[in-house]
């Protein structure tokens, strides 16, 4: 693979549909009836996957993602000998959309995984020191694998929600040291320490005809003039990723303050969904 980033073929959307979506936005509404700053319906299934150490399925309208956490033991990085590691991977398997061919993660998947990673990492949500087993020698590695099952826009916010929901529900296999070797006892589990008050979430805005919209559908993404994702944790901005288009300074200032406002509501929704301790199984 060569890291050559190429202007992407836009999905073919009939000109009429395109204009209709934009016109509705100009009239202060959206094609699916939502307000500009309203998220789609959110459904979260916590720990549906028995083979994972933690997992979640998130449905954001018709966008469906599943995240699973697996644990392994590694050597801490030299500059943080008393911390464990987080590795976030996102794949868009070809079942998610007619546009996707099978293959290793492309630049879009890599970007989303890296933004989700940064958002979680800088929020203080995970206590990385609690993942240390033997300083400088052994630490937990948390592998968060996110799979997109149906892509109807705003995968990044759904992916971040799924990752933090899965981590919230993660139980680590106990680590023991035998003959100077660390091993995991997968039958004995200890809870992963997370600080739910710092629950990190991303909020994605698009700009359409000078209006700002959150949680865009795929159609809305395709007619948007610009797109940006803000990672928020407890009122702090923990990541920003502008993708397409351009924004002026005032747009950004407005987006930042809107994202902090929306965050509180969104966090409450997510926390209420993930704290319901009912039996769960894989359903889509």
């Amino acid at each position: 693979m060569s890291n050559l980033s190429i202007t992407q073929q836009p999905e073919i959307l009939p000109q009429l549909r395109r204009e209709s979506i934009r016109r509705i936005v100009e009239q202060g509404q959206r094609a699916d009836g939502r307000a500009h700053l309203e998220f789609r319906n959110i459904d979260i299934i916590v720990n549906p996957v028995k083979t994972a150490d933690g997992s979640a399925i998130v449905k954001l309208g018709n966008t469906v993602v599943i995240a699973g956490v697996k644990t392994s033991i590694g050597v801490p990085y030299p500059d943080t000998p008393d911390e464990g590691a987080l590795i976030v991977n996102l794949e868009t398997p070809p079942l998610a959309s007619p546009e996707i061919e099978p293959g290793p993660p492309d630049e879009n998947a890599i970007e989303i995984a890296r933004v989700v990673d940064r958002t979680i990492r800088h929020s203080g949500f995970i206590d990385f020191k609690s993942l240390c087993i033997v300083p400088g020698k052994y630490a937990y590695i948390l592998w968060v694998d996110i799979y997109v099952l149906n892509h109807d826009g705003n995968v990044i916010d759904a992916a971040c929600m799924a990752a933090v929901s899965a981590l919230s529900a993660t139980k680590l296999p106990k680590a023991i040291i035998e003959q100077d070797q660390a091993k995991l006892i997968r039958d004995e589990k200890i809870e992963l320490k997370v600080d739910k008050s710092k629950l990190p979430l991303t909020i994605t805005f698009i700009k359409v005809c000078n209006s700002l919209l959150v949680d865009p559908t795929l159609e809305e993404e395709n007619v948007s003039d610009a797109k940006i994702t803000i990672g928020v944790s407890e009122g702090k901005i923990v990541s920003i990723q502008k993708t397409t288009g351009a924004f002026d300074r005032d747009d950004i200032v407005s987006i930042i303050s809107k994202s902090v406002e929306l965050y509180s509501k969104l966090r409450d929704v997510v926390l209420s969904k993930i704290s319901s301790e009912s039996y769960s199984y894989i359903r889509i």
């Binding site: 028995k50 007619p98 694998d145």
Partner: protein, 253 residues
């Protein structure tokens, strides 16, 4: 893992088998509860979720559609493209690396060859019909559950078929033939035989085996699998009839 523990488990599983019993209490010819859902993914032309006990797979079908790159197209019929893939969190113990393994490549091939005899490919020359399967949770028998899911997703997509293909595994532990292996039985047994049937016609479109089998045991295994497949087939028809009588016209030919 702890070698001693798994050794204990192996002993128990095998002792039970000598008494004609199974670790999870099932009768030898009893398959696990089956859960079948169709139309679960809105983007796909057809989709299905299939659970055999704790094994859960989801399948999506796209097509018939244009082939890329074009030189792969066939002038007289559609090509089938099949991908079987296990999510990294779908296996117990270690995370599975997401890159396709040799095992996944082989299974993608045999699933394709299990479906090709039923899909009316000749009706859609120069196109591709794509079947994408993701194993979300693996507790044995993933490839046969995948075939069942692929079948349902194809029917859900309205792709004309000669029959529904149903997958079932059979295994052998200490001379006991059992149906629908879970992971423990697969790991500690003496043989594994995944089978797929075109149920109405009684044809076999997938057959693999490892372990050691006498010719007579092979016969018993096939017959036991066929009975379980018939049971699952009836549930599939119910699920499809409910909503999809129209699109599965091929079934009633």
């Amino acid at each position: 893992m702890i070698a001693q523990q798994s050794e204990d488990l192996r002993r128990i599983v095998r002792e039970l088998a000598r008494e004609g019993k199974r670790f999870d209490g099932r009768a030898p010819d009893q398959h696990r509860p089956v859960r079948l859902e169709v139309g679960v993914l809105s983007n796909a032309d057809g989709s299905a979720l299939v659970a055999y006990g704790d094994t859960v797979v989801v399948a999506a079908v796209y097509g018939p559609r244009e082939v890329h790159p074009r030189h792969l197209a066939l002038p007289d019929r559609a090509i089938l493209r099949v991908r079987y893939h296990m999510a990294p969190f779908s296996t117990p113990d270690e995370r599975k690396r997401p890159e396709p393994t040799r095992r996944e490549i082989e299974i993608s091939k045999v699933i394709r060859e299990a479906l090709e005899p039923v899909v009316l490919l000749e009706q859609f020359p120069r196109t591709s019909i794509d079947v994408f399967i993701e194993v979300l949770q693996a507790d044995g028998s993933t490839r046969v559950a995948s075939i069942t899911a692929a079948s349902l997703a194809l029917a859900d997509a309205g792709v004309p078929m000669r029959d529904l293909v149903v997958g079932v595994s059979v295994g052998k532990i200490e001379n006991l033939i059992i149906v629908d292996l879970n992971r423990v039985e697969d790991g500690y047994g003496d043989g594994d035989m995944p089978i797929a049937f075109m149920c109405r016609r009684g044809l076999i479109t997938l057959l693999q085996a490892d372990g050691q089998w006498s010719p007579d045991e092979v016969r018993q295994a096939i017959d036991m699998a066929y009975r379980a497949a018939g049971d699952i087939y009836r549930q599939m028809r119910d699920v499809l009839k409910g909503k999809y009588i129209e699109s599965v016209r091929a079934l009633s030919q």
